[in-house]
Structures are given as C-alpha cells and as structure tokens.
Amino acid sequence: MDTTRPTPLACERMASLVDDSVDDRLDQATRTQLEAHLAGCESCRRRADDLGEIRRRAGALAPRVPRPEVWARIAQQLAAQAPARPRTFWTGARVALAMAAVLVLSVVSSVIVLRDPRPSPPRTPPAQTSATAVHLSASDTVKDVDEHLRIADANYQQAITGLEKIVATEQTALDPAVAATLQRNLGIIDQAIRESRAAITSQPTSQIAQTSLFDALRQKVALLEDTVALINVMRRGDQAGAAKLIGSLSKS
C-alpha cells in the first residue's frame, strides 16, 4: 500500500474512476489502481462509498402508484371521443356492496361513541335500516348489477349524510385551522367523487372508474369518522389523542 499522503491531483484523477467503479465499468488493472488509492485516502473512500450507496438506493426505489382518479379522468375523455358500447357485467359491484355493509356498521359505532359522554339507554342505531337493506341485497334478492351499485352508493351516501350532520352540529369544538383543513380535504375528495361519477356515466363498464368512486367515498367516510373521533377526544380533553387525529386529518 502507498503510505504517502495522496495529492489533490491524484484525487482529481481518481474521481472519474470512482463513478466507473460504481457502474462496474473498470478493468481489473484500473480497479486495482483505484483500490490502492482508496486504501490510503479517506476522503475519496467516503465519496466512493456514498456514490455506491446512492446508486444502490436509486435502483431500489419503490414503484409509485397513480391515484384511481387519473383513470377516471382519462376514461371520461376517451368516452367523449369513442362510440357508445353495450354495458358488460360489473364484477366490482358485489365488492362495493360488501364494503358498504361494513361501512354502515362502522358509522353506527361512531355515532354511539359520540353519544358516550351522555349515557342513555341502548337504542336502535339510526343506520340499522340500511344495514338490513344491504344484507337483503347481498343475499341475491337483487340480481341486477346496476342495482348493487346503486344500493352501495346509496349506503355510502346515507353514512356520509349522517356523519356530516354530526360534524356540522359539533364542529365548533374544532380549532378553526383544523376545520379549514377538514373543509379543504373534503373539497378534494368531493371533486374526486364528482369526476368518478362522471366517468361512470360515460363509461359504465369501467372497473377503475367504479373503484375510484368507492375509494373516494370510503376516503370521505374515513375523514368524517376521524373528525367525529377528534370531536370526542377534544371533549374529553385528551390532547395527545387529539394531536394524533389532527395529524391523520391533515393527511387525508
């Protein structure tokens, strides 16, 4: 090993070799020469290690996924340019319907939690009727797929309306900045819902458009549920719980 201190000129010369080394493009003789330099030069060794690490991490970056709304927008524009086609079976209808059933139950529990500070006798949850409707539909009483879609959508809407009422009457408990964030995020979700509905209208067979609609509806319910939960913890004076929920509201 060369024990003399490397000169800046030597480091300069080695700089180009470092990248070729990172890309595994050096012949054996040049590689040996570079390694000898790196063994005696901490600065170049660090640079080589860092650049190698950057290269490795760049190659391992996770794929990104576009939001479902993007296809909804594309489908809408394509449909405007393409001739009408017959509708085909919508396989996602049952899935959406099942999710709507779960959703209704979760809305019921939100309402009960909200009422918890003022204990009252057990009562029939307001959303019970729609849960029953979902059950009947899922047991093949309704065969038509469009009807499945319509019922699932109606259940989401009912859940959303219920939650919106709670939030509207109780939102004075929220900090104005949080309320503003909530409104902004609701606006974004509502836009996605509108775009998805438009895409479904023009492209009734598009599973992506349907998935997009139900994703947006689920997002809206989740946001409203978080808001209701936040109102609850603020009533209890639970600052830590409130901070956590505010974080999730901001990310919605």
Binding site: A15, D19, D50, R57, A58, L61, R64, W71, I74, S206
Partner: protein, 213 residues
Amino acid sequence: MTTSNKTEAGRTDRDLAARCRRGEMVAFEELYRRHSGRLYTVAYRMTGSAADAEDMLQDVFLQAFRRIDSYRGEAALGTWLYRLAVNACLDHLRSHQGRQRKATDFIEDVEGLEPVADPTWQPDRALDRIDLESAISRLPPSYRAAFVLHDVEGHEHHEVADMLGIAEGTSKSLLHKARRRLRAFLRGGPDDEAGRPAAAVTGAGADGRRGAR
C-alpha cells in the same frame, strides 16, 4: 423471458392493440392497468411532482389512444408507451425551463450552477437514508433526467443519450454530476463537483464524446 414467453407477450400486445384500435374501452383500460404504474413512476421521478406526473400520465394515454394506429407491434406495447412517457417528461422539463429553441437546450442549463453552501457539511455523518426521492426532485432537470434514466430506471448510457438526444459522454457527465449533487444534498454539505471542470470529473472532452469503457 423465454422465447415462447416473448412470442406470447408479442401476440397479446398485438391483440390488445387491435382491440384498442377497434375502440374497445375494456381493452384500453387493460392497457392502462398493465402499464400506468411504470409510466407514472418514471414521470413522478422525472418531474419531481405527483400532480405533474398525473397530468403526464393522462396526456400519454390520450396520446396513445389517438396514435394506436401507428403501433405496428415491432416493439412491446409497454416500450412504445414508455417512450411516449419519457418524451412527454422531457418536453415538460424543457418547457418548464421556458426554452424551446432546440431539443437539447435544457441540457445546457447545468453550466454556471451555484455551488451548494457549506454551513452544515458533516463528513462523519451517514448519508441521509430517508430522502433520496426528495433529493432527486431538487436536482436540475438535466441532471435529474440522466440520473433517473440511468440509476433509477436502469438504462445504459447509449440509451439515455438516445432518449435525451445527446452524446453518450454528456450522459455520463450529467450522471456523475447528479450523483455528486445528490451526495451533497443527502449530507447537507457542498457539492464536490462544483467548481471542478466537467472533463476532470468524467474524463469527457468538450464535445462530451468519450466512449464507454
């Protein structure tokens, strides 16, 4: 991929393209399902913005819809779409710089960049492990294009050069500078290529033409 798999994939691509040409929206949706992830990923990293990447994705598929007649099945559909997407990204980067004199104008913008300030340089600290993605988005467009296409997407320099319309040596030079700039971002310190002539970093001549080893 084996030869028979390739043949099968080629047949599937041609069938799908034929169905798209007939205006079957279900086929077009299938095309989107198969390829939107990869195209969105490269667009996201090239533009550094989710919103721009979504716009890009939308433009590319609408463009593909209009141009599907020109797809003859020589290349895989995914490759054809990928090239449309990369070209759209490069157009975006160019127009973002407000210059449209010639295709490679944005490449020239790398000269004269201010060196990164040096108040927090910490040679003993490990590279910031979290934020490579955000550091990439801070790169100048030409550095970012070369880095994303080579180090993230895994293209060879001759392919990067072809896509960017530049010499292979220039592609290498841009990549090397990009890596050093990223290192500086991730260490919170100076860019160690700043102030050094490009030729010294890459061995490239003034015309950027140096053969790959």
